[in-house]
């Protein structure tokens, strides 16, 4: 096999693998990414039930209700709009009324979010970034509130 042929085989194989990877990435991006919304976004955008999404805001004071089997219901607010969340499981240690929270799940026909993941802030100083952005949008964010490092500290 000549150098030229070898090069063609190599380039062909590389393009083939890249094409497969591109197809995988595009289909995965279509199916598996989750959009973030603030409660006001949910109300304004008329998002159809069954959509998977993340919402962020503050846990509305006085809204947390506990049921059997670790069922928790609460409302997430950005100061303008509230959205109800239903979650079955253990909420994070720093989940409290009036504190920042991010919930991920499916929107139900009644307008509540059936969450399968609830994230609270990591420590006293950290606020999930989606929450900060949601509050900023609704004008409830005071500059100067401290933000620590988010995600997994390393």
């Amino acid at each position: 096999m000549t150098r030229k042929q070898r090069r063609l085989v190599l380039i062909g194989a590389s393009l083939g693998v890249l094409a497969v990877a591109a197809a995988l990435v595009l289909s995965a991006l279509r199916d598996s990414i989750v959009f973030f919304n603030s409660p006001t976004d949910v109300a304004e955008k008329h998002i159809s039930p069954g959509t998977r999404m993340r919402i962020g805001g503050l846990v509305k004071a006085g809204s947390v209700e506990r049921g059997d089997n670790l069922l928790v219901r609460f409302a997430v607010t950005d100061g303008k709009t509230d959205i109800g969340v239903r979650y079955q499981g253990i909420v994070p240690d720093l989940f409290r009324e009036g504190q920042g929270v991010v919930a991920e799940g499916k929107l139900e026909p009644g307008g509540t979010l059936a969450a399968d993941t609830v994230l609270a802030k990591h420590d006293e100083r950290y606020m999930p970034r989606e929450v900060v952005d949601a509050l900023k949008k609704s004008g409830r964010w005071q500059e100067g509130e401290v933000q620590g490092a988010g995600g997994r500290p390393r």
Partner: protein, 659 residues
Amino acid sequence: MIPELGHYALVLALALGLIQSAAPIVGARGRDGALMRLANSTALMQFVFVALSFLALTICYVTSDFSVATVFENSHSLMPLIYKITSVWGNHEGSMLLWVLILSLFGALVAAFGANLPATLKAHVLAVQSWIACAFYLFILLTSNPFLRLAQPPVEGRDLNPILQDPGLAIHPPLLYLGYVGFSIAFSFAIAALIEGRIDAAWARWVRPWTLAAWIFLTVGIAMGSYWAYYTLGWGGFWFWDPVENASLMPWLAGTALLHSAVVMEKRNALKIWTILLAILTFSLSLIGTFLVRSGVLTSVHAFATDPTRGVFILAILMLFIGGGLTLFAWRASMLKQGGLFAPVSREGALVFNNLFLTTACLTVFIGTLYPLALEALTGEKISVGAPFFNLTFGPLFVALMFAMPFGPLLAWKRGDLLGVAQRLMTAFAIGIVTVAITFAVEGGQSVLAPFGVGLALFVMLGALIDLVERTGLFRLPLATVRHRAAGLPRSTWGTAIAHFGIAVSMLGIVCAATWGTERIISVKPMQSVSLSGYEFSFDGLVQRQGPNYNALVAKFTVRSGGVPIGTMEPSKRSFSARGMTTNEAALMSRALGQLYVSLGETNDDGSIAVRLYYKPMVLLIWFGAVVMMLGGALSLSDRRLRIGAPKPAAKSALAPAE
């Protein structure tokens, strides 16, 4: 006084670094041996000064000198000594100092052990290494000075983030950094080769041990990080596809590809240009990882925009080295001579396949990690790309790679016999298929993919063993001959087989733990029992315990298997008063290769407590596999041919396993 000394030592290191950035290159131009040799002393002294600086900062932490801002922010006088030391790198400033400490260590090692490198190559390598070092010294001194004093020293510190108060943190970041930063040597060698416009098989032989050493550290570092997340985050997960984790996975993937392409270059003098490019890309990914973790861009694109000093500085470093490296590559790569020919079906071909899939897999991780950031920066739209994306993209590519893995080492160089290799792998393949069938039957068709995963892992493990069996002639030659042949096999061959075996072991662990793990999330009252996968957990009650700087609420569980007590598990929640934070300490109990895992949720007024119970079969294999990979790498590193500084067979005394 001590912080000022530390600061001063770092400034001196910068001054030495600036000299080392220029002098050796001027020396190499004018063939001035003395100027080139100057780099040896400056490299060693840079390390000494950075080490002094690091020592100074450590002393500040150990003596709880709260007049230093970073000590105040991240330490507490009541913390145990070990955490006072680990908090040195448990924050941005200190971890950057650790970064340059390791960078200067590698520079010093090249200076000390590179005696038989060609003088000009060594001079160029040390100069490039010093460019990187200077960029980071400046970054620390200008934007992240760890020695800043507070005008009014507080009496008590604000404590280290409690999540980081864990033995895992003591070893995880240094190991990870040894890996990240170790790739800088490969980068420096690549740039040096481009500057010289000359590259040969000997170059690959010099680069490979450094890359291998960095790869070993990175492998262990990632595995440690995964185990640490597994037991501290309390969800029983071992990999979250979090951007911070991806930041370390990307250099690992590229570094693994580099290790393999360097073999082709060393043995067959082919793939030169590609190897150089990979060396540049691998370190670039390490830099990108540093940028992602250190610039705050992950916390919020907006936070990055409002306080951009650090982020922009690292971004500038990134542009300079990645852009500069690639430009130099584009300009000079064509001057490098083409290497040997090979057929697509050959060992070289297999290694190209490996490189193609590893780099493509790396690319998918790259897209998944950076796409949300780019989208938010450009359109303001926020998305999260999680595990499903990576499982759908990275997964299939890695499966293809795993399937091809046993074929590679069995193929001959230049022109291989695929049919012959397939025949030799027939036993492994048959056993793999039978395993798929058995697993499928036993688990009753719950999952279709998992049995294939188990079969594939077994196929790869057996394939690695078959490689050794073929080479030693086991089962077909007399035992004495086999022993003789086994002793005569290069250690790198053993290393390859063992490392390949290791990754299959990890894969087996991942598949089993992810598919057949069971979990229960439940609220329990004292004296209540919960059963999970044949184990019975009875909750004996809650106890308070006092730690050095925290209060712990401990839940006691007695675990029974078939009615027989097998031990107690004591998960706890620690509350740290200094930061008003609680951490979850999961309790683990190993059962053969699986683990029982209990972590606590919230307590209720009626004395009940929410708990998460997990049974994770085979989960320990994930990390055992990484240890096996590390052993394979270490064995390969101890190969005489590759021993650092000994590119040619040396005298008998050099045969002692020094590493």
